[in-house]
Symmetry: C2
Subunit: 148 residues, 2 copies
DNA sequence: CTCTTATTGAGAATGAATCTCATTTAACAG
DNA sequence: CTGTTAAATGAGATTCATTCTCAATAAGAG
């Protein structure tokens, strides 16, 4: 059994909840993904494998995975919430292009030092750090220049 | 005329748009606020002053103020988008306590240096920077300890 | 004033996310 | 294996922030 499964099952047990077939399948598909995903995209993938999992169950399972520390709500693109793995993934920033929707990720080791020192001053217990920069990516900037 | 008005009017003119009564009032109320606000809250305030501005116009004016560099979309609380001034306000981070909902803001001059250098490397044009840290504030940590 | 174009209010439409409820399933004791 | 209890589920209704439509109005140029 993979590590994320162990964590999820332990989490569910602790909450008096059950590790059902639907939850198992959702978790599995989520951890096969390596990009950010929204619920609709996830639901489509799940549906390709099994018609027996409803959209409602997918929506219901996501907050459980969040609470278990496996994924987090990430950038919000268009109008949909997006999610991403946090278990086993180093913290990173998101650079979102307003024009083409591209999301670039970069390491935030340096930033984390600043944040941790501030947290110490404030006596704040950090659970999540989210750095998002919005703007225009180099591709779209080039295209804009060319078309002038 | 206040500086934010000059900026907004210039922005509108440049776009071939008009600085109407409704837009003037919305801008005025927004710049009287010193907290984060969502559209519903803003609309309520505006409605107290004038019944002649519709919700639709408030929704339509917000992206204009964002484009003009006057406000930005900030943290998202519950299901609503929140906004905050950026013109005349130094960039800052948000420290959100998951327990009591407290939002602390801190300066991010040091962070901005990192972000700007990364942007240069990437040739990315920055429009918005948002650093949000979620966790437990010192007060709630103390309370938790006491009650054990 | 006249013309053109942007703006507006009201309410309909959209669409992501949540909720309801009747049915099914898991877990476990006997 | 059987019965019991509580959790889980699917389908579709509902909610609610946001966007859109469209007919009426207002701004601004000439």
């Amino acid at each position: 059994m993979q590590e994320h499964e162990i964590i999820f099952e332990a989490f569910l047990e602790k909450q008096g909840l059950k590790y059902t077939k639907a939850r198992k399948l959702i978790l599995e598909i989520v951890f096969k993904l390596h990009e950010h995903f929204d619920v609709e995209y996830l639901y489509d993938l799940i549906h390709q494998v099994s018609k027996d999992v409803s959209r409602a169950t997918v929506y219901r399972t996501i907050p459980l995975m969040v609470e278990a520390g496996l994924i987090q709500r990430s950038v919000r693109s268009e109008s949909r919430d997006k999610y991403e793995h946090i278990y086993g993934h180093p913290r990173h920033s998101h650079w979102v292009c307003k024009n083409c929707g591209l999301v670039i990720e970069t390491d935030i080791q340096d930033l984390m030092k600043l944040v941790q020192s501030e947290a110490k001053t404030q006596n704040f217990q950090i659970d999540e750090v989210n750095l998002t920069v919005r703007g225009i990516c180099w591709k779209c900037r080039n295209n804009a220049n060319e078309s002038q």
